[in-house]
Symmetry: C2
Subunit: 96 residues, 2 copies
């Protein structure tokens, strides 16, 4: 009968997502990607008064949490929001 619902994200999973978003820079990256749909790493770097390596680290955190996707295009990397994951996250928060 399959009455079993999809397990609605554990506290551990949700904690990881919260942690990924627990830095203002990472929130701003998400907001930016939400607004412009996609962009090159360098453009994101140029938004912040931070070094390239630091921004790259933040992007890595978000990527590892599944919130963004990065696609290599030649020497550049194009980032975009993972809208599925982002919506899953927002739904989980709404259900808290």
């Amino acid at each position: 009968m399959n009455t079993k619902p999809i397990p609605p994200i554990t506290s551990d999973d949700l904690a990881k997502l919260f942690k990924a978003l627990s830095h203002p820079t990472r929130i701003k990256i998400i907001e930016h990607l939400k607004a412009i749909d996609q962009c090159i790493c360098g453009e994101i770097v140029s938004i912040f008064p931070l070094s390239q390596s630091t921004v790259s680290q933040h992007l890595k955190s978000l990527r590892e949490a599944g919130l963004i996707k990065g696609e290599v295009e030649g020497p550049k990397t194009c980032y975009c929001l993972n809208r599925d994951m982002f919506e899953t996250f927002k739904r989980a928060v709404a259900l808290l």
Copy 2:
């Protein structure tokens, strides 16, 4: 005319709330308080396989983020969810 909306929580504020919720134990504390409305510190401690001092630290994090309120009642402390703040938080996430 007061068309100016209430500033909708900065990235810094939101990051602090995310950080407060970035640990599974703290999420579970919130869920518990949401469910039972209020309870004594000792009851929360007994839920987790953690020392009293560690749980007390987690409660402090949540208190400092404004997500819970603690009221001293004799030698005990009664904790409850700060529903206003919690709803503000959820609204902010929904608007992301």
